[in-house]
């Protein structure tokens, strides 16, 4: 019976940790999405690269806790896209900037994909 109680406690702890992690990942995705939404539609070479650098640093600081459940391949793609976005903003390449921004929104969405309870994810 003691083993059964321990098993129940372990199961409860696992569910709790998974839930806490899911909340953390979702919050992170919301923060990153909000930061991306705050970027201008047309880049300003004097301010936009600095905003993107701040966003990249934010992602860098969250990379370790995110790495507990998100594959580093996914976060690496976001970082790479942020570098491209920064370069496009600095070069005032609006087309490249918009394309990378759209790609980034999709990649950030991917970070939280496994934490969303959705039929498509489960199946």
């Amino acid at each position: 019976m003691k083993g059964c109680v321990i098993g129940g406690v372990v199961l409860a702890v696992v569910i709790l940790l998974v839930t806490v992690n899911a909340v953390f990942v979702r919050n992170t995705v919301e923060r990153l999405t909000a930061a991306l939404d705050a970027l201008p539609e047309i880049p300003d070479p004097s301010t936009t690269p600095a905003e993107i650098t701040a966003l990249r640093e934010l992602l860098g600081s969250l990379e370790t806790p995110l790495g507990l459940s998100v594959s580093y391949a996914v976060t690496d793609k976001v970082t790479e896209a942020l570098y491209c976005l920064e370069a496009a903003a600095g070069a005032e390449d609006v087309f490249q900037y918009r394309e990378t921004l759209a790609l980034l929104r999709d990649l950030v969405e991917d970070i939280g994909r496994l934490e969303r309870i959705a039929l498509c994810n489960i199946l």
Partner: protein
């Protein structure tokens, strides 16, 4: 990870369900849920090892979930026999009073050839010798022979032999097994006295066994 947790639960339920449907013949020595857990764990554990892109949690969460589920389930099943009946297979009586039960054999998909083969492995060559043959939940067939076919026991003969218990391996290859020594109720002093009686050094002993009745058997190294 939420998805992984849900997936784990779904795969576990599906595997237990399908194994239950497959019946006890697929099980060998394990209960259904044991087998499912073993199958899943062996595969899951290798995932983050072979695929380094996967975080370790992708294996740890399912492993912890499965093992704790297994333990909780076994505890719950002890308390709730009605649920146990749903998840566990019950023993099936294949032969009753020397007569094979065709209906039961069909339902558990045991052919006459398989039954006879299993009986032969238990030194039974005639169905008439069998009082009961039972297919156990772990897939093994237990045989209860008819009284007339059973080997005569000391009790049948009205004898009361000394209770010898079981043999304990106290020395193996010149090394003392201290756990067995204490289980047999021996100490090293008694062991060395026993060796001195036989004019043997510890290093000269290949095996030294003692039963609960105090009978000691020694196999010296050179004799083996």
């Amino acid at each position: 990870m939420v998805t992984i947790l849900i997936r784990t639960l779904i795969v576990y339920t599906a595997l237990v369900g399908t194994m239950r449907f497959m019946g006890k013949r697929q099980l060998g020595e394990l209960e259904i849920s044991d087998l499912v857990t073993t199958l899943l764990l062996s595969d899951i554990a290798t995932l983050p090892i072979t695929n380094t892109e996967l975080p370790l949690s992708h294996a740890l969460v399912p492993i912890l979930t499965l093992t704790s589920l297994e333990v909780v389930l076994s505890g719950v099943l002890l308390k709730l026999p009605s649920i146990k009946r749903l998840l566990s297979v019950r023993p099936a009586i294949l032969v009753r009073h020397g007569k094979p039960d065709r209906g039961v054999m069909r339902s558990v998909r045991v052919s006459a050839e398989e039954l006879l083969s299993q009986l032969r492995q238990k030194d039974v060559t005639d169905l008439q010798e069998v009082e009961y043959a039972i297919l156990e939940p772990n897939g093994q067939i237990s045989v209860v022979k008819k009284a007339a076919q059973r080997e005569a026991t000391a009790a049948d003969l009205g004898l009361t032999p000394d209770e010898r218990g079981m043999m304990h391996l106290l020395v193996c290859d010149g090394k003392i097994n201290r756990l067995n020594l204490s289980m047999a109720g021996w100490d090293e002093g008694r062991l060395f006295r026993e060796l001195a009686k036989r004019k043997l050094a510890l290093s000269e002993v290949f095996l030294l066994l003692a039963d609960d009745g105090g009978r000691v058997t020694v196999y010296p190294r050179e004799a083996v």
